[in-house]
């Protein structure tokens, strides 16, 4: 019962964040990029709900704008990792043999790097760009997807109906796409949700280290990075972006758990 309530809370939180981000497109109380010398480092007030930063920019407006960037980057990362991972995993798993062996060795090597470190190194290569972040994070998460998809494809491949399809003269790739991929969808939904959470966290960490989405476009991690200098004089600058990241992650985790329970009834339903 409560488990379902948790899922509902997750969906509610995610909806809240998404709606806020979308509302930001229509408008924010202040322009998130306009500086105001007189309003620097002001505490939260009726005028500036969440205070202002060292350039006198409105924190609330920046948080809302950042939501859009952070969510968009995470979403694009999920799409990239899922599509690249599915393609590689399916092809490699279906063809097997040397293709598979080489692909898996490379994937193993990629997996040997912690996602954040790999993304960090790739970011240094591609330079500061929001698409750069997507590529870096997407590449970092692709190996996980490849592994899962390949595993499923391997198990599906042995099944008789696939043999039948092949006997009918369908090409190997066609067979792979029509039979293995549907089997992957529930697994992909689960892993996609988890990648979304990880990407959000890693993007924040990258921005925090100064290698994420380049300023002045605000991101939550970037806002936190700027805020550390003033953690004593303007604690609100550190608190609210962190809260935003945490609440979004909470939403994703709650939603993800509920989703897994639903898609994988073997678990937790006794």
């Amino acid at each position: 019962m409560l488990r379902r309530a948790n899922g509902a809370i997750g969906v509610a939180l995610l909806t809240l964040v998404a709606v806020t981000a979308l509302a930001g497109i229509i408008g924010t109380p202040y322009d998130p990029l306009v500086l105001s010398f007189e309003d620097r480092l002001e505490a939260p007030s009726a005028e500036h709900w969440l205070g202002t930063d060292q350039f006198g920019r409105d924190t609330f407006s920046r948080l809302v704008t950042a939501a859009r960037t952070s969510l968009a980057v995470s979403f694009a990362t999920v799409l990239l990792a899922l599509s690249a991972g599915t393609l590689i995993g399916a092809v490699s798993g279906y063809l097997g043999g040397w293709t598979d062996r080489i692909a898996m060795t490379v994937i193993d090597a990629l997996m040997a790097f912690p996602g954040l470190l790999l993304a960090l190194a790739i970011m240094a290569v591609v330079g500061p760009h929001r698409y750069g972040v997507v590529v870096a994070l997407g590449l970092a998460y692709t190996p996980n997807v490849v592994r899962i998809v390949r595993g499923i494809v391997l198990s599906v491949r042995e099944k008789e109906y696939v043999e039948a399809s092949r006997a009918l003269g369908n090409s190997e790739l066609y067979t792979a796409l029509t039979h293995a991929v549907p089997a992957c969808i529930s697994a992909l939904t689960v892993i996609g949700t988890s990648i979304f959470g990880s990407a959000l966290l890693s993007e924040s960490a990258l921005s925090f280290l100064g290698l994420g989405v380049p300023p002045p476009a605000p991101t939550w991690g970037g806002l936190l990075a700027d805020a550390t200098m003033y953690m004593d004089a303007a604690p609100w600058l550190s608190i609210f972006p962190g809260l935003a990241i945490s609440l979004t992650l909470l939403g994703i985790n709650l939603f993800g758990d509920a989703l897994r329970d639903y898609l994988d009834p073997r678990m937790n339903r006794l």
Binding site: L33, V34, L35, F37, R40, L41, Q54, F55, A124, G127, P128, G210, L211, P214, P215, P216, T228, M229, Y230, M231, D232, A233, A234
Partner: protein, 528 residues
């Protein structure tokens, strides 16, 4: 105005120098933002290495508080009548950290080691003349003589006005060392110097600790640059490596460290008013600028460059990013030095309307303009943020491109940018600053200004020995810079030392090296 006010604040402690001996205590904890590079002074160095090693080693001569050159290990020096012979008399009774007396023999050994190319001293060519003379004519040493234990004679190939400056140079310190500083093969071991502190424990990446050298005999008088009275009041000085400015600032506020001599400007907000800490600003010679690529198709039009000059409100940029601790300055000659004559204060008055008119005249149609910046140096980043907003307000489609320092620097060297917020390291010589700006980009892309008229003017300035005439050339250069706008100078930033309120006797100075002699804490007097 601000400059003078700051100078007064800095000089105030001088006047109140107490006659009574300040108390001694166990430990001073000081932050540095990178680990030192090594312990071989002048060979493997950077600013933080210099900052630490100047407590351990001393040269024959050094810079005083007013940047004049005074004796340090030497007692006195004089120039012979041939203007090629320099005679140094050493201080009597001076000892190395190993207890051995300082004699002319060790001085000669120290210089012979530095002049040996195998030592890889950074400035050997100054005294041997082996490299091209970009830094001016070399002061070639032909012989070092030791007529008696306390006299050293340097014979030069020809008269050189730069000789003393080079001996006093802080980056290429010519430390007087005991020969036991190296092993029998000449490999570096550890510095056995003459400074008030000796090297203690060095935990790479963590901290480096100095111990008081009990055999040090301080001069009489007051703290004076790298010379003067060096009283080691703290038994130990620990330099803690703390690369993150925000963390260092927090550590000062939490009373974990006593001092950080180089607070970035953006760390000052809210810090001045915080309880338990103090900020001591002091002017420096570094120059924050907005670089303009004059070969960029868009920016090659001087009207666009002038529009940018009108759009950028330097006072506002400085106010935002240095909290008033800067002297607005668009001239290559640092504000506050004598060569900065009134003409060097002239520049564009901020005027968004004029900027828009110029843009219209030049046929600007919303082409994107990218400003490169990095986050390693917070004020370069902050300048870019503020300038982007100003250009945007004047109708320019400006974007910030933040990259890491290595890429930013490499683009600077290659001339690969449109606009770029940058900051030049301190250079005391005005001629040198212009010299490094002016030249053909075909020859070296790092040159910022390739107007032939400017090239002619700087050649004339360098060749003239008459000060007035040289200054007139500098003035003409600045007028030309206003017309041409090859670069937009913003300000000379101050450096700010952050101190715990219990710390006494610390004074910043223009060379911006921390000096921890004569520094004590009020908490010591009751304890010990």
């Amino acid at each position: 105005m601000r400059f003078i006010a700051v100078l007064l604040v800095c000089l105030a402690p001088l006047a109140g120098a107490a006659a009574e001996a300040p108390p001694t205590g166990p430990l001073l904890e000081v932050a540095i933002n990178t680990d030192i590079r090594g312990t071989d002074p002048g060979v493997n160095r950077d600013a933080n290495t210099d900052a630490v090693m100047h407590h351990v080693v001393e040269a024959l001569v050094g810079y005083a508080e007013d940047l004049s050159i005074v004796p340090v290990v030497a007692e006195s020096f004089r120039l012979g009548d041939d203007r090629k012979t320099w005679v140094f008399r050493l201080r009597e009774g001076l000892r190395f950290h190993n207890g051995a007396p300082v004699t002319s023999r060790e001085v000669k050994w120290s210089f012979e080691r530095y002049l040996d190319p195998r030592t890889h001293w950074k400035c050997t060519s100054w005294f041997t003349g082996s490299a091209d003379d970009e830094d001016g004519k070399p002061s070639i040493i032909t012989a070092i003589e030791t007529p008696d234990p306390l006299t050293v004679v340097f014979r030069l190939a020809e008269p050189s006005t730069l000789f003393l400056d080079r001996l006093a140079n802080v980056q290429c310190v010519s430390a007087i060392l005991h020969p036991d500083s190296v092993d029998e093969h000449g490999n570096w071991l550890a510095p056995i110097g003459t400074g008030p502190y000796r090297l203690g424990t060095w935990k790479r990446g963590q901290y480096i600790e100095l111990e008081r050298f009990e055999g040090y005999r301080p001069r009489e008088g007051k703290v004076d640059g790298l010379a003067g009275r060096k009283l080691a009041l703290a038994e130990r000085v620990r330099f803690i490596v703390s690369p993150d400015a925000a963390a260092t600032r927090a550590a000062l506020l939490g009373h974990q460290i006593d001092l950080f001599h180089n607070l970035p400007m953006n760390a000052i907000a809210g810090f001045e008013d915080a309880p338990g800490v103090r900020v001591l600003p002091s002017p420096t010679l570094s120059w924050s600028v907005l670089l303009i690529q004059t070969r960029d198709p868009l920016l090659s039009d001087p009207r666009i460059r002038r529009a940018i000059a009108y759009a950028v409100d330097r006072e506002q940029v400085a106010a935002f990013n240095t909290f008033g601790y800067a002297s607005v300055n668009s001239s290559a000659i640092p504000a506050g030095i004598a060569a900065h004559t009134p003409v060097h204060d002239e520049w564009y008055e901020p005027d968004v309307q004029k900027a828009r008119e110029l843009l219209r005249e030049a046929g600007y149609t919303d082409e994107p303009i990218r400003i490169q910046a990095n986050r390693k140096y917070p004020n370069m980043y902050a300048n870019a943020v503020v300038i982007q907003a100003m250009l945007h307000a004047a109708g320019m489609n400006a974007h910030i491109e933040v990259m890491d320092w290595a890429s930013h620097l490499s683009n600077y060297f290659d001339g690969d940018f449109q606009l770029s917020t940058f900051s030049f390291s301190p250079l005391a010589s005005p001629a040198m600053r212009y010299y490094k700006l002016i030249g053909s980009k075909d020859e070296r892309p790092v040159y910022q200004w390739e107007d032939p008229r400017a090239m002619a003017l700087i050649e004339r300035a360098i060749e003239s020995f008459d000060r007035e005439e040289q200054w007139r050339s500098f003035g003409a250069l600045h007028r030309l810079m206003i017309e041409d706008v090859p670069i937009i100078g913003l300000y000379n930033a101050h450096s700010a030392a952050g101190l715990d309120e219990t710390v006494r006797g610390y004074r910043p100075w223009p060379l911006n090296l921390p000096r921890l002699w004569g520094v004590w804490k009020t908490s010591w007097s009751d304890g010990t």
